[in-house]
Amino acid sequence: MKLNGAQILWECLVREGVEVVFGITGGAVLPIYDEMPKYPIHHVTMRHEQAAAHAADGYARATGKVGVCLATSGPGATNLVTGIATAQMDSSPIVAITGQVATSALGTDGFQEVDTTGITLPITKHNYLITNVRDLARSVREAFYIARTGKPGAVLIDIVKDAQQAECEFEYPEQVYLPGYRPHVRGNQRQIKQAAEMINAAQRPVIIAGRGVLIAHAEEELRTLAEKAHIPVVTTLLGKSALPETHPLCLGMGGMHGEAYANLAMQEADLIFGIGTRFDDRLTSTASTFAPKAKVIHADIEPAEISKRIRVDVPIVGDARNVLQALLPLVHEAEHTEWLECIAKWREDTLAHDILWQETDELVPQYVIRTIWEATCGEALMVTDVGQNQMWEAQYYLHNRPRGLISSGGLGTMGFALPAAIGVAMGRPDCRVWVVAGDGGFQMTLQELATVVQEKLPLKIAILNNGFLGMVRQWQELFYNKNYSGSPLLGPDFVKLAEAYSIPGLRVTKKEEVVEAVQRAEAMEGPVLIDFQIEQEHNVYPIVPVGQPIHQMIRRPIRARAQSAACERQGGEA
C-alpha cells in the first residue's frame, strides 16, 4: 500500500493505540493536518504549544499511555521545549511530533526553521529527524517503544515537510530492533537476596518510594512489603499515593517541605530502601548529610540513577514491581514496634505544632486544601502547579488513589497545572479533576481556559491567590531580608476572566465561605473557577533551608505571625 508521509504517520499513531493528540497546526505540518480528519484520533486544538506538551504529559501521567503532541516548525517547536523538558524530567512518556521546513530549505535559516533535534537533544530520551519518508514508520514505532519502556521519557520526531508529502510503500514494523537499548526490568537475584538480608536485619528501616513505584503499578507490592516487614514509607513528591496516605505506615512526603517525622525517620534510619526514586536534592538536601546512619539499598530501572547522588550499598537495577515481587518471599515478617513508636511520637509533636491554620480566622491555604480533600474523599485527581500551592497540596491532601497527584516535580514548571489537567481530564473522564494553582503560575498558561470550554472539560480550578510569586516571596522573607524584589504580582479579576470564557467563577475571601464554594464547585456539572483570596504572606512550613540537613528545618509557627517575630528554628531532637 503506497501512502504519503502524513498518512503513514497517522496509520502508525492509530496502530500505537493513540486516541487523542494535543496540538496546534502551522505551515510545516499542513500535510499532516490535511490527512487528520480521515483517522479515528481526536485532535485537541490548544492555544499554545507549551500547553500541548503539558496536556500530552498530563494525559500520559493519568493514563500510563503515551501522550502525543503535535506542533509546527520554528516557534511551534521551541514553544514545546518547556513541556518536553517537564515530561522528560519526571519520566512521563510522551511523543512530540514537529514539522520541519522542506529538505531544500534545511540549514538555510529559512522561514520558521530552527534546529529542533539539536535544541531538544539534551531534554529528550531520544529524537529523530526524518528526511526520508522510508524512515518514518520505523522511527514512529521506535519512538513509542522508547518513550514507554525502561525509564519512560520524551521522544521527539521532527519530520521535514517534503517527507510528509512523499509517498512510499507502507509497512508497519512489528518488531523493534534497537541493539543499544535493552532496559533491565528484572533485578539481579543475588542483589535482591542481599537486600532482603539487610531488610531482615534492620532495626530502623525506612522505605523511600518514588514515582517509579507508580509507573510500574507496584503499589500493591509496596503495601504488602511495608505491612509484612513493618516498615514505614516516606514518599517523594511524585511518589505520593504509592501507599494510601491515610495508611498508618505512610509518613507522607519527605524532604525540603516534608513533615519533621518523615525527615527524622530518614535521618535516624539504619536502613534506607529507595525504590523508583532518584534521590533528588529536594528530597535529600546536601547528599553528604542525608541519612548518615543508614545503609542504602537502591532499586531503579535506570542504572545511571544508582550511585548518582547517594552512595549505595546494594544496587538493584530493575522495574519496581519485579523487584518487589522478587523481594517479598525473602523478607521476613517483622515488627518494629519501638521504631514505629518513636516515629509516632515525632508525628504527635508535629500535629501538636500544626494548629495555627485551624485556629486562625484568616483565609489560609491549608484550610482550602483540607476542605477540597474532605469534599473529594481523597479520591480526586489533583493537578497542581509549582510553588507554595504545590507544597500545600502535598502536605494537606492525603491521596488514597494511586497516581492521584499530577505535578511537575523535577523541572518545577509553573504554568503546568491547567494545560496538564486538560490532558488528565481527556484521559480520565471517569475521574473528578481538580486544578490547584497559584495566581502566578495560573497566569502563565491561562489562555487554555478556552480549550477547557472547547472540550467541555469539567475541571474544578482552585486558584490560591496571594498576589505574589509566593514561594519566591517566602524565600525573600526568610533568606533575603524581606526584600520583595520582583515577587509582587498584579492579577486580573479571575472571576470576570472565567466569565469571559463562560466558565462560572466564584470568589472566596473569608474562611467561612470555603466549604460552601467547594461544595458548589463539586456539585456543578461543568468547569468552575474559584478565586481563593488567601492571606498574602502565608508561608509553607516546615522548610529546610538550602544546604541544611533535612532534620534542621524551620518548623511551623504556633502563634500568629504578628506575635512570633522569629520562627522557631528547631531540629535534631524534635
Binding site: L121, G180, T286, P303, K308, R311
Partner: protein, 175 residues
C-alpha cells in the same frame, strides 16, 4: 554522598565506545559530555570492523565515581551498544600527528635525522618546509613536536587517541 576517598583520584581514563552509525549520534555523545560537565581530553571516531557500527575512543579526566557515571550515561544513549573501560588493560594506544615544519639549508638534514630517530616519515616536501607524519603514543608525539619546535612549526594537527586491547580479546559484542 560519594566522597573523594571512596571514589579515588582524578586521572585519565580511556573508554572505547561502540555505537550505531546513525545521524546525530556523535552530537548525542558530545552533548552528553558537555551537559554533565565531564572533562574530555580527546575523542576520535570512525568505522569499526562491523558495518553500521562506529567506534569511538574517548579519553576522559575522571575519578571512579565520575567514570561510573560517564559509562552509565553513555549506555543511556539509545544508539550506544557497548562501552569498555580499557584504562587498566594492556592496550595499544596510538595518536597520529601531521607537522609542517620550516626547513631550509642545513636544517633539512637535521630534521631528516630526527624523523628517522622517531620512526616518523616525511610525507611532503616544499622549498621552505617539510611535512612530517608521526604515529605513536602521546608522549612520543609530544617529544617529536618539542624537537621540531626550534625549527619553526608552521602548522600542526593531531588526532586524539585510538586504542585497542592487546591479544585476542575483542571490544565488541553486546553489553
Amino acid at each position: 554522598m560519594i566522597s573523594e576517598a571512596q571514589s579515588g583520584a582524578f586521572s585519565r581514563r580511556t573508554l572505547v565506545v561502540l555505537m550505531e552509525d546513525k545521524p546525530g549520534v556523535l552530537s548525542h555523545v558530545t552533548n552528553l559530555f558537555r551537559r554533565r560537565n565531564y572533562n574530555i581530553e580527546s575523542l576520535t571516531v570512525g568505522h569499526s570492523e562491523t558495518p553500521g557500527i562506529s567506534r569511538m575512543t574517548v579519553v576522559v579526566h575522571a575519578n571512579d565515581a565520575v567514570l561510573e557515571q560517564v559509562i552509565k550515561q553513555l549506555y543511556k544513549l539509545i544508539n550506544v551498544t557497548k562501552v569498555t573501560d580499557i584504562t587498566d588493560d594492556a592496550a595499544v594506544i596510538r595518536e597520529l600527528a601531521l607537522i609542517k615544519v620550516h626547513a631550509t639549508g642545513a636544517d633539512r638534514a637535521e630534521i631528516k635525522q630526527l624523523v628517522d630517530i622517531f620512526r616518523a616519515q616525511i610525507i611532503d616536501v616544499a622549498h621552505e618546509s617539510l611535512t612530517v607524519e608521526v604515529t605513536g603514543t602521546e608522549d612520543k608525539i609530544d617529544s617529536m613536536i618539542e624537537m621540531l619546535r626550534p625549527f619553526g612549526i608552521k602548522e600542526l594537527t593531531r588526532t586524539g587517541r585510538v586504542a585497542m586491547v592487546r591479544g585476542a580479546a575483542r571490544t565488541n559484542g553486546d553489553r
